[in-house]
């Protein structure tokens, strides 16, 4: 999907997220004022952001590892590399010409292919581009693809799929995304009905044959703690008041926090080279207790699947898995 003439824009350093959010809010306001809700497939700028020489800091790494339940090794957890690349992806989305507004974007899926673990003492070049605008029932999705390179070796690729609701893709574009995305009423920013306690009617359907292998007891501070370590200070994760403004009863957990908890639950058995994929469904409202199931893949398949759901309503928060890659 990338056009041949990619414009590489090199940044001096990983940008600070605070300033990016300010720009993102302003940009979203402009976009709202312009009311241009239709995007065309070629609207995505062929721009790649590049930051060279990115290195993890020991304290940042330890804080992440302890929060997510990873062991404190020098190998960077795959979700930690996502944290390092996230500001660069955000910088791309707030650039003038990016066709979708940052504000209100919903993280619907995430896939990471890690060829080997990056180590604490290694310097990474981070490259981020946007690609694959797809029509979706309730909007348009875009993939933010981040790559981590260590000395000309691609070691980590993360693809985050975000949904901009209320937008639509111009008709001559590709057809509706064939991959099954969560249905609109399951999406993060449309909590009506799904987040209440009246999910019991779906319990038998979704919860059938699903025995937990563990649980996450998530306190009210989980959103703020992950916000501090990831820099993702979106107020829907850190403030009940702000979350209410967006239609949630209380603050919700970061999707990547839950995804990384699931990865940590699989543990060292995942190996070092793997594909880790997650589909986000219902957001996790804080505080809450989440039922988790980790299982070895059936039959010929290798790897693990995981699932997290609300033991009270039975509604699924996320599904995904980790499978070894060669």
């Amino acid at each position: 999907m990338r056009t041949p003439e990619v414009e590489v824009v090199e940044l001096d350093a990983v940008p600070a997220l605070g300033g990016l959010y300010a720009r993102g809010v302003a940009g979203s306001a402009r976009a709202a004022a312009a009311r241009r809700r239709t995007v065309r497939p070629d609207d995505l700028p062929a721009t790649e952001l590049l930051v060279r020489g990115v290195r993890a800091e020991v304290e940042h790494l330890s804080t992440y590892q302890h929060l997510l339940g990873e062991t404190g090794q020098d190998a960077l957890p795959a979700g930690f590399v996502h944290v390092l690349a996230f500001p660069v992806a955000t910088a791309l989305m707030v650039r003038p010409g990016f066709p979708l507004p940052l504000l209100g974007m919903v993280h619907v899926a995430n896939q990471v292919e890690q060829r080997r673990a990056v180590r604490l003492d290694e310097e990474m070049d981070l490259r981020v581009r946007a690609q694959d605008l797809h029509a979706h029932r309730s909007g348009v999705t875009v993939d933010l693809v981040a790559e981590a390179w260590v000395e000309e070796e691609l070691v980590w690729t993360g693809t985050s799929t975000y949904l901009a609701k209320g937008h639509h893709l111009a008709p001559h574009s590709a057809s509706t995304d064939p991959t099954p995305l969560p249905s609109p009423d399951n999406l993060v920013s449309e909590p009506q009905g799904a987040l209440g306690t009246r999910g019991s009617d779906t319990r038998s359907e979704e919860g059938a044959g699903r025995a937990p292998t563990g649980q996450w007891r998530l306190g009210g501070e989980v959103g703020r703690r992950y916000a501090a370590v990831s820099g993702d200070q979106n107020p829907i994760h850190t403030s009940a008041l702000a979350a209410k403004a967006f239609g949630f009863p209380r603050a919700i957990a970061h999707g990547m926090y839950t995804a990384a908890r699931a990865l940590a639950d699989v543990g060292p058995a995942r190996g070092e080279a793997f594909v880790w994929h997650v589909q986000f469904a219902k957001p996790v409202v804080l505080p809450s207790t989440v039922a988790v199931r980790v299982a070895r893949a059936d039959g010929e398949a290798e790897g693990f699947s995981f699932e997290a759901w609300s033991p009270r309503s039975g509604r699924t928060h996320l599904t995904g898995g980790v499978s070894p890659s060669s």
Binding site: S62, T63, H66, D74, D121, G267, P268
Partner: protein
């Protein structure tokens, strides 16, 4: 000696027919060998491991060992490890570290705690199980963090908080809370004080140092030698297959290759300042508070042979000792001097029958007091019940690659560091070579051991 066995038979927990001893024939049990070791460099308190927990460091050391010996996914017979300074959440430290490591999650593990002898005792327990044929392989380990040490609330506050948690009505809760006084809020950090005497370990050693007449010069010389020898060992690549870098450290942070007796002589004494004799113990000839972890891979000969792994040394015999320090009869850290003669007698050896001596340098004076005891006709007769002095040792065979004064001393990690280091030295020295280990511990205890080149 090593019997060929079919692949997969490592899952059997019983004795192997092809291996020596261990059968029901009444002969002495088979031997347990040291295959190798791995540790992370030791850091100074508050240094690069400041945010690393005991579990983090032990897992890192464990995974380095797993990588070195190709044990990923393997079910090892058992892992035994411990820490001296433990958070209550560390109750199953060894097992939790295994679960976070690349070992098979079906590897069982248990915790051990015997103060600074913890690391030695993990080796003792696992080698005994191997000798009895209960396991074929084991990993002994130890870890300690003085940076991430547990801080507990005062006993008074703890009592109130427990009452509060049991309170049912708002009135009961209010009543409990109202008992809290500002003075209760001061946290208590762990100390190196002996519970029965209230003296710190350094003050205890200072008493023994003064009683034995150990000079400041002798202590500084021993400390300088420790640094110089450890530095030389690093320069020679001796630790290349005994160590995995961690959090940016590639060498022990406490190591001062350029220290000298002159430099050490400038330091002010910190222990024994209020005794009748001049104080001699400084920060330079005492071990610093440190963070770190170590592991040792132990096995039966058959297990090592199956995997084509080296066999460095045999753990021949061990002995624990304890002294009556609380009544001032013996020095707190002198239990090793008492245990060694018993170990020697059981094995028909004299103190001079060794190629290497590894005496843990809790303080330079601890080592020197041990040597002085063995050289003392009077002490050996009266306190150790021997016919005469054990005699002196060739000092060039003592702590030849440096010891705790230079490397640092993360309490439970020291035993593993010493066992792996000595086992490698013995292999280099050649068949039949023999080493003696003595590690003292709080509570007036020590664990001593004999290793022999395998």
């Amino acid at each position: 000696m090593a019997a060929a066995r079919t692949p997969g038979s490592q899952t059997s927990s019983g004795p192997t027919p092809g291996s020596t001893g261990a059968g029901g024939d009444g002969s002495s049990p088979r031997r347990a060998v040291v295959v190798g070791g791995n540790r992370i460099p030791f850091a100074r308190s508050g240094g690069p491991y400041v945010r690393a927990s005991n579990q983090d460091m032990l897992t890192a050391a464990l995974d380095g060992l797993v990588a070195r010996f190709g044990l990923a996914g393997e079910r090892v017979g058992e892992v035994a490890a411990g820490a001296v300074l433990k958070h209550s959440k560390d109750f199953n430290l060894a097992r939790e570290s295994v679960l976070g490591s690349a070992l098979s999650p079906e590897t069982p593990a248990y915790d051990v705690q015997q103060a600074c002898a913890t690391g030695m005792e993990t080796v003792v327990g696992l080698t005994n199980k191997i000798r009895l044929g209960q396991i074929e392989s084991g990993i002994a380990g130890g870890v300690d963090s003085t940076s991430d040490a547990p801080i507990v609330v005062s006993d008074a506050l703890r009592t109130i908080l427990l009452d509060l948690s049991r309170a049912k009505t708002p009135q009961q809760k209010l009543k409990a809370v109202s008992r809290i006084r500002p003075g209760h809020l001061a946290p208590s950090a762990p100390t190196t004080g002996e519970p029965r005497t209230g003296l710190s370990m350094g003050e205890h050693q200072a008493l023994t140092t003064a009683a034995m007449g150990i000079t400041r010069e002798a202590q500084d010389e021993l400390a300088a030698a420790s640094h110089h020898r450890l530095a030389a060992a690093y320069d020679d690549g001796f630790f290349d297959d005994l160590l995995t870098p961690y959090r940016g450290l590639t060498r022990d942070a406490n190591l001062r290759a350029d220290t000298s007796v002159e430099k050490l002589a400038k330091l002010k004494p910190v222990f024994g300042k209020h005794l009748e004799t001049p104080a001699t113990m400084t920060a330079g000839n005492s071990t610093p508070l440190s963070d770190g972890a170590s592991t040792v891979l132990l096995a039966s000969d058959a297990w090592a042979a199956e995997r084509g792994l080296p066999v460095l040394a045999t753990v021949v015999d061990v002995e624990a000792g304890a002294v009556d320090f609380a009544h001032g009869r013996d020095g707190l850290l002198m239990a090793g001097a008492h245990a060694v003669p018993r170990l020697l007698a059981r094995n028909g050896l004299s103190l001079q029958d060794f190629d290497y001596y590894e005496i843990h340098e809790a303080f330079a004076a601890t080592v020197l007091c041990n040597l002085a005891i063995w050289e003392s006709e009077e002490y050996c007769r009266e306190r150790l019940g021997l016919d005469g002095a054990l005699g002196s040792i060739d000092r060039s065979k003592l702590n030849v690659h440096g010891s705790s004064l230079a490397a640092g001393h993360p309490f439970a990690a020291t035993g593993g560091r010493i066992v792996a280091t000595l086992a490698k030295q013995l292999t280099a020295k050649g068949p039949g070579s023999r080493g003696l280990i003595s590690v003292c511990a709080a509570g007036g205890q020590a664990v001593v051991a004999i290793l022999e080149a395998a």
